[in-house]
Amino acid sequence: MRSLISFRPALAALTLITLLISWTNAEYFGMEILAEIAVLALLAMSLDLLAGYTGLVSLGHAALFGCGAYSFAVFTAIWGWPASLSMAAATLLTGLVSLVVGAVVTRVQGIFFIMITLAIGEMGYELVFKTRALGGDDGLAGIPRLDLSAIGVDLNDPGIFALTLILLVAVVYLLLLRLLGSPYGAVLTGLHDNAGRMRALGLPVQLYQTSIFAFSGALAGFAGTLSAQHTMFIAPQLLHWTTSGEVLVIAILGGLGTLVGPIIGAALITLLRHELSDLTDYWGLWLGLFLILVVMGGKNGVVGWLEAGWRFVARRGAQSKSTARRSNDAAG
């Protein structure tokens, strides 16, 4: 058990190092892919808090992601606010929206929760799609990036931007790791395991579910502000339920409730999409096949497979050690 607890942070460190090594080798297009991976990793981690740890599977998460992106775009490109203030305001606004949405959707459980989050997400998509002031189906352009020239960092350089996002993923991972090791984190897993018993023990279940919905939403909104800065152009597709589905696929592929899984999932999906689409027109087919292979066998995504492999190796190691000791004893 102990070796597994430290296995995941080690895996996260390895993932970060891999991302950094690919960053040192990346050209312009590679930087774009790395930035895309980082944004998706942040979004998928926020969904993992909700779906993986608390057991609330949402299909409306993209709407919150889009809420962050669109409010950032409005604050900067239309209202002319500075990007730093806009990032904070857009994250906060998305958190507030999520708080209200969370208070409503946590009244129902299971399949109904999935349906109601899907419905609310689609309402958000429709709203943006039909609103001319938000660009409608044309989207919004001319979104600036955060200006960090005061400390000598030029985020308009694709390399610097990608590196900043990768480091941000590492920071958010560490913060969330700390959160999940707290009493609050224990309550989240308890809710996933057995919400009914949590209620019987005296926990105001809906209050806690709403709180994590709001926090997870704010983090998704934060990822949205980064996505808007990355592409500098946003379209309603960002809020569509298929985007929510894709993020869910990323988290499941990597391993739900593992925190590092969503990062690995984001990297794998993004790379496979780009690499496979170069090789074949049927890339979606191969991606589907890959997903089925990973999810079959009852393992918890890629992280689940790696952990099973690690356990196997550890057991083999322990066995060979004890065999060696036995033969030593025999010799002695």
């Binding site: 707290s182 224990a186 018993r197 005296g202």
Partner: protein, 250 residues
């Protein structure tokens, strides 16, 4: 400590609880018995707040909790165990007990403090584990525990809150004789500042470990009295014990 006044509940045309009143003062060991379908579990769910009564009042101490949700009643000092094990299966015994402590002490919103640093939770967990006989198994996964040990943990979770009223729903159901003996000892050793209400099938347990018994039949109270009174009652003999004497049943 716990008082139910003239409780009525029906599901559609089916009257499952009819005019039931109960009073369980602090220190009392009160048992509810009755044949299957007598409405014992329904009454329990009404007391715990899983169901709302159609009529009547439920009080914890002086507080009317009739309209309180289960979690709010729990925070007023009412704790319950379940007939079917209702645990956190992905964790260890320690994880389960610590989780109950977090909820009972209300520090679930501490999101920055490390859980492993909480000394008082660890001490309380160790004490309760000792009390329920699971001290040796603290770091074992709950899903690996024997059925009997899971039953013990079921009671342990209810005890973590240091409740004023403890509802035990068939604590010995499905247990081996040896495990039943351990559970009885555990119930006997419960602190006397606690009001205990239990549903029980096991006649032996009811007559020797409760000091007051309510007999339910078709949702109604057939009689209430001391174990001696219930044992000697003709009407109870006929409806519940099927004409046989209680002695034979034991």
């Amino acid at each position: 400590m716990l008082r139910a006044e003239r409780i009525f509940k029906s599901f559609g045309a089916l009257q499952v609880t009819k005019d039931v009143s109960l009073e369980v003062p602090t220190g009392r060991r009160h048992a509810i018995i009755g044949p299957n379908g007598a409405g014992k579990t329904t009454l329990f769910n009404l007391l715990a707040g899983e169901l709302l009564p159609d009529e009547g009042r439920i009080l914890i101490g002086e507080q009317d909790v009739t309209r309180f949700a289960p979690d709010r009643r729990a925070r007023r000092g009412l704790s319950r165990s379940f007939q079917k094990n209702n645990l956190f299966l992905s964790g260890t015994v320690r994880d389960n007990l610590v989780l109950a402590d977090i909820v009972a002490q209300g520090y679930g919103f501490h999101f920055w403090r490390r859980l492993s640093d909480n000394r008082s939770a660890q001490e309380k967990t160790a004490a309760i584990a000792e009390q329920i006989g699971l001290a040796e198994l603290l770091d074992h996964g709950v899903s690996e525990l024997s059925y009997g040990a899971q039953r013990q943990l079921e009671v342990g979770l209810a005890l973590m809150a240091a409740p004023k009223v403890l509802l035990l729903d068939e604590p010995t159901s499905g247990m081996s004789p040896e495990e039943t003996g351990r559970m009885l000892q555990l119930i006997d050793d419960l602190p006397r500042d606690l009001a205990v209400l239990l549903i029980e099938h096991d006649m032996d347990l009811v007559f020797s470990h409760a000091d007051r018994i309510t007999v339910l039949n078709y949702g109604e109270i057939l009689m209430e009295g001391t174990p001696q009174e219930v044992r000697g009652s003709d009407i109870v003999q006929e409806t519940y014990l099927g004409g046989k004497t209680a002695q034979e049943q034991c």
